[in-house]
Symmetry: C2
Subunit: 359 residues, 2 copies
């Protein structure tokens, strides 16, 4: 069975109306929609319209403010801390990224730590904002604790993604956007829907034993940091996730580790918060703060061309450049439409009914 397919314009119009229905300004609704749909276009289906009803439920629970006063609470020439005022991360993060870009224009680089925010969609959206300014963009965020550090049975970290976007000249940009776990939660959700087993090394049971049950998280299990086990470097994945958590939340004054509030509205945030909301960390570096842009971008073209031309292992088609699969999916879906899982379609229909909007 193939998933039903929807046009970009149809989904955009629906999402816009929903965000406006919960009180977003035109500008914020447009921005939030753009971020969400970019995920669907790029094939990161777990972070697109599939999450729209989740944001609405958080708003219903009083945990998202759709008219936030997003403001700088501290700054230096190359840094700022932004208070997201419980706004949608989909709006707060791009606003914070604009500040990072503005700082970079003058100081060479700009680094913005964000507190009091919510789930910001795909990290790639925010870091890629830097590209059009001939800047390198970086974005990271912490997230609800689903990941057990190496040797732990407790879930203390989120899937804490990192994205680095680097401009090139004639080649498409280098865009590395990845969860710091062996597999992103979205990958697990796909297996759950298909009732398939997960490979060993993705998840562990409540007691820390390896598991292939894709539903293990519901029974107190945990995702495993990139590396899968100690012998294969899971302590490095743990380091990466911890780094993202500290930059996003300890620097900004957001909640970190097990105190990060859950994305799902049916779970309450911890009663003893250590900060405000969830945290992000965004950065922009002007390429010509290091060397002339043209020179840099010509060498990026050379880097990309050389790696793409690498001799492959027999049976493998090609060596990919980070960002290749997402860019290709995006071009294809912009042309032919975006497939949505039937459960997501059902969910969006319900959501439409709630606001007397048809999906």
């Amino acid at each position: 069975m193939t998933d039903p397919i929807f046009s970009y314009e149809h989904l955009k119009s629906f999402s816009l109306q929903i965000f406006k229905a919960i009180g977003c300004s035109d500008e914020h609704a447009t921005l939030a929609t753009d971020v969400l749909l970019r995920a669907d276009l790029r094939g990161i289906d777990s972070h697109g319209l599939a999450r729209l009803s989740g944001y609405v439920r958080l708003w219903e629970a009083g945990r998202i403010n759709t008219t936030p006063n997003i403001r700088i609470v501290h700054e230096t020439p190359s840094t700022a801390v932004v208070d997201g005022d419980s706004g949608l991360g989909l709006v707060v993060a791009p606003k914070a990224m604009e500040i990072a870009i503005d700082k970079a224009r003058i100081a060479g680089t700009g680094w913005v730590a964000v507190k009091n925010s919510n789930h910001f969609g795909i990290a790639g959206y925010h870091s890629m904002m830097a590209l059009q300014h001939d800047m390198i963009g970086m974005a990271m965020t912490n997230a609800s604790p689903l990941v057990a550090p190496t040797f732990s049975v407790e879930r203390l970290l989120g899937t804490n993604p990192i994205c680095v976007a680097i401009p090139a000249q004639n080649q498409p940009a280098f865009v590395a956007d990845f969860a710091t776990t062996t597999a992103a939660n979205g990958k697990l959700e796909i297996l759950q829907r298909k009732n398939k087993e997960a490979p060993l090394g993705w998840i562990q049971k409540k007691n820390g034993e390896p598991s292939t049950n894709a539903h293990e998280l519901k029974d107190g299990g945990a995702l495993i940091p990139l590396g899968s086990d100690r012998e294969h470097g899971s302590h490095k994945g743990y380091c990466l996730g911890a780094w993202v958590d500290i930059f996003s939340a300890v620097l900004s004054g957001a909640n970190y580790g097990p105190w990060v509030p859950p994305f799902v509205s049916f779970l309450s945030p911890p009663a003893d918060p250590v900060g405000n909301g969830i945290g992000h960390f965004l950065g922009a570096m002007r390429v010509d703060a290091f060397r002339p842009s043209d020179e840099f971008k010509a060498h990026m073209d050379n880097w990309i061309t050389r790696f793409r031309a690498a001799q492959t292992i027999e049976g493998e088609e090609r060596v990919l450049i980070p960002g290749d699969p997402e860019r290709e999916t995006s071009a294809e879906r912009m042309k032919s439409g975006i497939p949505l899982n039937p459960k997501v379609v059902e969910d969006l229909k319900h959501l439409g009914n709630k606001f007397s909007l048809s999906f």
Copy 2:
């Protein structure tokens, strides 16, 4: 058989004399020795005195300049590019890190890309320089190509390590220092010396098939990016290694990817360089460019305490904080001495003879 043990002072004195014998100033010899011995103290034996004769051979081959003119060739308030003038990375990197720290004092953060350098020892040394200034330190470097990107049989990346050092209050600092491969080359060298097999997922054969032969690299095999295989996220390890390569070398104007010159003197650098020497990328962020230092460090203490207290998987002693093992080894070795592999001792004796110095 246990390895012979040497006092820190003995090794320091020997290393100082060697660096002076090849033309380093007192200051540079002291700095290079401090960096090398920090690796031995912290238990990263592959990056300590075991490499001393390697640096000397590079100097003999005319590839290291022991009286370099290390200078800034471009800068903005928060960035600089440093030309290492073919100097020892052990000297160039700490000098560049000082520049990053100076920039951070004024601009909030400082980011220095370095070209025309050599192997810089452990990344941890340089990033930890920031801690005493209540700054977060970052260090990364590219290295000789030994790693095959996902799906590639060609070795296009080095083990390209990243270190992030973050200060705390009463707790020791968070120091995550790791190669972006499943296992560092040093881990493989240990197995080679002991004639043991490597776990599957560390290395691949010349044709890309998985291998457990710790000597595989000599036959054209390659190290594998963190993640071990595509299903377990090796494309993320490849992203990390690529990121380090681009920040270290494409930003600075050093050689990148397969053009990075080899550390061993018996292999010639590529005949068609795309830049100068190898590259590093160093960063410093003033903690109080984001929030008051005391507040930040109190929360870091809370982060560390909570993670250290995590309930462990049965049979595991404790959940580690990044930097714990190295700090504990360092304290132990400072007290009881530093064990050196007999082959390293032999190598150092030969080196001493060359300069009429006794080891």
